[in-house]
Symmetry: C2
């Protein structure tokens, strides 16, 4: 018999419960706890948990594993509250989007007889709360696993088993690297999505221009609809990693701004040609290590080939565009559109 | 018999052809022209046009209406080339994303005996070229219609008929207003989507962090995959409207940056609570005129009611989050997570 306690029955916690139930593992008993009675009852009605425990302390007393699936800042408070109640050899894991700070809290707060193994499923959606939960949310997704230095190997294995059970793929990564990468590819997109909504909706003409906002605005603003508490906690606990990425983004915007003010058509062209190539390469999965001294992992022959072919197609498009500027600069100005 | 000539057989031009064909209007003959032989032949194979004309001048000589569906800067060159060939009382329209500059070109370049009626379908996708074309692309979409001051009323009506035929809804708007609004809700999202890709892919660790980029990065970076020539032309021809919006965005990012550096948890919370509310209101279609002196159009009673109800739900979520700060400030610091 394994007892798993899920604390925090929002989108992620409830989805983990549903996915574990779907895996039909015998001898698995799931206890759930959430501070919100509505979320608790919804998760229970959805059969994401076997039983509900209103008292957070009691909810972990018999647990073999505790999964903390609350917003990041709340994880610290949950740890403080459950620490004296955790049984011997209990495994504690979490689902927070930042890891360095959480591992530090685990070290400071949790008793030495439990193993902490940090986790972060790379899956989600903008809707929050248990009603948005989905048993298939983690299907095929990477799931970052970051054991505390003193975690027992069997505890890490236990978390990996849960990751497997819910259909995700374990992805081992160092906490600092996780937070730096997540800042760039996850928290920065969230910040600029929010900044777009902030800058447009503050305009006195917003109610008029909103009529003209379509799929582009909808998609780029999507992450602004993420749970505001989750987003706040991510920024607060990963501020030192996120800030330099915000700076890099501002640098790019300042360069675009310069191009616009100086009517630098070539500069604007280069800006869009570069990102077009890079995004297409990423979408095709052929992002490569840089060549030269910094390169470490070389792709296999097949991967190199497909990358070369795709690279050709993409490079042709931007070369065609950029070549017109070279022609113009060499003094032979010719019609751009007409041959 | 009506002769329509589509110049530029990319995503939009080919989709217009397909949509017109689908409408099965009798006596409509569609001639197509594109500088690219591949695009031309693809559009022809897809039956988006009745005939292909390799010579751009010849392609308009018998036309009742010419639809210019090229990137914005190319529209000027197309106008210069077709101007001497346009028959009496021909209607010329376009599909460009910026309008002030295009109307100015029409005034300078097109002969007085033709009517120019600017157009801009608020529909698209990130894929470009005729292979991405779709007869249903404009179904239900707004289609901005901006007649030149000297356009004949029947010419405007002719363009409106075409808009109707392809399933879109005509949306009359003044050119300057169009460009200002489009800058905020369409060109700014495009610029920041591109800036995200620029800032992340330039990192020496990009090939490693790319593994951790999932749906959030994919969606926010989507517009960076738009045709780079189209994007360049939009920025170049709408620079004066886009630049102030880039400034507003940078202002928001600088404020977030300040919050991160100063560990201003309350500031971060306010930032995300505000955008969460605003985006949800926009998605629900209840964006309202501001109250006070600036308010002009008042919503109907039913609309007001639904807005009030939704507003309640949204406001509750952010009030709950923000109230914790007020409680803390009043000296009664309490646990955030646990009751």
């Amino acid at each position: 018999m394994s007892n798993i306690t899920i604390i925090g029955l929002g989108l992620i916690g409830t989805s983990i419960g549903l996915a574990l139930k779907k895996a039909k593992q015998p001898n698995l008993k799931i206890t759930g706890h959430d501070r919100e009675p509505t979320s608790s009852r919804t998760a229970q009605k959805m059969n994401a948990i076997d039983s509900l425990e209103w008292n957070i302390g009691k909810s972990v007393r018999e647990a073999d594993m505790v999964i903390i699936a609350t917003p990041v800042l709340a994880i610290k408070e949950v740890m403080e509250y459950i620490a004296p109640q955790l049984p011997e050899e209990c495994v504690v894991t979490d689902t927070g989007s930042t890891k360095t700070r959480i591992l530090q809290w685990a070290k400071e707060i949790l008793p030495g007889h439990v193993s902490f193994v940090g986790g972060h499923p790379l899956a989600g959606k903008e809707e929050s709360g248990p009603t948005a939960a989905d048993a298939g949310l983690f299907e095929g997704a990477d799931y970052c696993v970051i054991p505390a230095p003193n975690a027992a190997p069997w505890a890490t294995q236990a978390v990996v088993s849960i990751v497997d059970l819910i259909g995700a793929k374990p992805f081992f990564i160092e906490a600092g690297e996780h937070d730096s990468f997540a800042a760039a590819v996850s928290h920065l997109p969230m910040a600029i999505s929010a900044a777009l909504v902030a800058s447009t909706t503050k305009s006195p003409s917003w109610h008029e221009m909103a009529k003209m906002a379509t799929t582009g605005y909808r998609d780029i603003s999507r992450l602004a609809s993420g749970d505001p508490e989750m987003n706040r906690d991510i920024c607060v606990t990963n501020a030192s990693e996120l800030a330099p990425w915000v700076d890099r983004l501002i640098t790019e915007l300042l360069e675009l701004r310069r191009c616009l003010h100086e009517s630098d058509e070539k500069g604007v062209a280069q800006f869009f040609a570069h990102v077009y190539e890079e995004r297409e390469k990423w979408m095709a999965g052929v992002t490569q290590a840089p060549t030269g001294a910094a390169a470490v992992a070389l792709p296999g022959a097949a991967e190199q080939m497909s990358s070369l072919l795709l690279g050709d197609v993409l490079a042709r498009k931007s070369r065609e565009m950029m070549s017109r500027y070279e022609t113009e600069e060499s003094g032979k100005k010719k019609k751009r559109w007409l041959r």
